[in-house]
C-alpha cells in the first residue's frame, strides 16, 4: 500500500480494530509471510480477471500455512484485499470463500458514504443477493441497513431487498441498527439522494409489514403513566413508590387514596387471609402442574380486584 492510499485508509479507518490489528501485523511481516498473503490474493482472483474460479480448498490451505488478508492490490480505482476481491466475484465458490475469510479474519470496515468498501456493500452493489444474505447471517457488517439503503441500486429487486431486511431483522437488533444507520445517512448528508429515498420507501413498507413501530424507534414517547413507575424524593435521593409499598405488600392490587391529611394505603387484608387459607387447603396444586398451573394466589387476582373495590367502598 503506497503512501497516498495508506493516508486515506488511516484517515478513514483509524481506530477500527481490523485496521489497527493489520497495521501491527504488517510491522513484523517476514518475506515468507508477505508471499503467503500475495498468494492468497492470487488464488481469489487476479486483478484483471476477478471472475476466475475460486478454489476454497487452496485458500484454506494457504490460511492454514499462515496467509492473512494484509496484501492489497489495485482494483477499480481503489485498493482491495482478498475478501473484497472475493466479494466482487459472484460465483457460489466466492460466497463460500467470503464467508470463510470473514469468519477467519477480523474485517468489518465501517461504511464510508461514497466508497463501497465493506464486503456487504460490495455484494449489494454487484447484485449478489445470496452473498449479501450470508454475510448478514454471520453478522459481519457494521451497518447492514445503511449498506442496503446506499448501495442497493437496480441490480437487486424489491423482493430481494425485502428478504434482506428480513434477514437483518432476524440477525440484528433491528431498532438499534435502524437508528444508527439512519444517523449515518444524516451524517453523510445523503437524505436527498434518489437511491436513498427509493430504498427508504422499501424499508418503510417492510417495517409496516412486520409491525415494526418506526415512530417508537425514532423516539416517540411510550407515555408510561402507570403509578407503578412513580418516584418520590427523600433527601437528595429518588425512591420508587412501588419499592416502598412492597416492603409491606408484595402482590395483588393496592389502592392509594389521598386523604385530606395523609396518604392511606389500603390492602385487602381479608383476601390475604383467604389466600393463605387456600394455599394451605390446596398445597399440592402448585406441584401437580408446576409449569402451566399458576399458584392459587395469582389465579384469584381478579377476585382480589372486585373485593378490593367493595372493601374500599365499605370503608368510605
Amino acid at each position: 500500500m503506497n503512501g497516498v492510499n495508506y493516508d486515506k485508509f488511516e484517515k478513514n479507518y483509524n481506530g477500527q480494530k481490523w485496521w489497527e490489528e493489520m497495521k501491527q501485523r504488517r510491522k513484523n511481516k517476514t518475506e515468507e509471510q508477505k508471499d503467503l498473503d500475495r498468494k492468497l490474493v492470487q488464488h481469489i482472483g487476479e486483478v484483471t480477471n476477478n471472475l476466475r474460479m475460486i478454489n476454497l480448498t487452496e485458500i484454506k490451505k494457504l490460511v492454514d500455512q499462515g496467509a492473512q488478508i494484509d496484501h492489497w492490490v489495485e482494483f477499480a480505482g481503489g485498493r482491495y484485499n482478498a475478501i473484497q476481491l472475493a466479494a466482487n466475484n459472484g460465483s457460489d465458490e466466492a460466497v463460500e470463500a467470503v464467508i470463510y475469510l470473514l469468519n477467519t479474519f477480523n474485517f468489518i470496515p465501517k461504511e464510508l458514504g461514497n466508497d463501497y468498501s465493506s464486503p456487504l456493500a460490495l455484494s449489494i452493489f454487484n447484485g449478489y443477493s445470496k452473498m449479501a444474505k450470508e454475510i448478514i447471517k454471520i453478522k459481519k457488517s457494521k451497518n447492514p441497513i445503511y449498506s442496503f439503503l446506499r448501495w442497493s441500486l437496480f441490480s437487486i429487486t424489491d423482493d430481494e431487498k425485502l428478504n434482506s431486511f428480513e434477514e437483518i431483522r432476524r440477525n440484528y437488533n433491528f431498532s438499534k441498527i435502524l437508528k444508527e444507520d439512519l444517523k449515518l445517512i444524516k451524517d453523510h448528508g445523503q437524505f436527498d439522494q434518489d437511491v436513498i429515498l427509493t430504498n427508504l420507501s422499501t424499508l418503510f413498507n417492510f417495517c409496516k409489514s412486520k409491525n415494526i413501530n418506526l415512530e417508537e424507534c425514532l423516539g416517540k414517547s411510550y407515555n408510561i403513566g402507570n403509578p407503578i413507575a412513580w418516584r418520590f424524593k427523600s433527601g437528595n435521593t429518588n425512591h420508587w413508590v412501588a419499592e416502598e409499598i412492597q416492603k409491606t405488600f408484595k402482590v395483588g392490587k393496592v389502592s392509594i387514596e389521598n386523604c385530606p391529611n395523609k396518604i392511606t394505603v389500603f390492602f385487602v387484608l381479608l383476601l390475604s387471609f383467604l389466600f393463605i387459607f387456600l394455599d394451605l387447603r390446596f398445597p399440592m396444586v402448585k406441584n401437580v402442574h408446576p409449569v402451566k398451573q399458576r399458584p392459587i394466589r395469582s389465579r384469584f387476582c381478579q377476585i382480589s380486584f372486585v373485593e378490593n373495590s367493595c372493601w374500599s367502598k365499605t370503608r368510605n
Partner: protein, 126 residues
Amino acid sequence: MSKIPVGQKLEINFDDLLGIGGESLVTTIMHHQVKKAFKIIPLDREGGKTKSLIIEFQQKMNLNISESQFAKSAEEARNSEILSGRAEYECGSIRHENIIDYENVTLDLVDGYVCLIAGNFRKIVR
C-alpha cells in the same frame, strides 16, 4: 404536594411488577393491546438540556409517520445521538440466549424524569 388529588384513589397492581433492582424498575405495561415488559432506568444526572431535547423530538415523532414523511422524520430524529454511549443501548446489539433481547431502547420522560426505556416486547405469558 401530592400527585393524587384529595379524595381520589389510584391503584397499583403489584402483579405487574417484575422487579426492582439497582436503580431500575421492570414492569409489564399494556402497549398496543399487548402486555409487554419495560425496564425503566432513571437518569437522574441528566440535565434540563436532555429533557428539552427529548421533548423536542417527541413532539415531532408522536404522530404517525407516513411513507412520504419517513425521510424527513428520520433526518430529524436525534435519539440515536443522545442514546450513544449508554450501556443498555450499546449492549442492545448483542444477541445471545443468556442476554435479554431488548426490542427497542430509547429515552423517554417517565413521571417527569429522564429515563432510559428498554422494552422487551415478547408477549408475557402469565
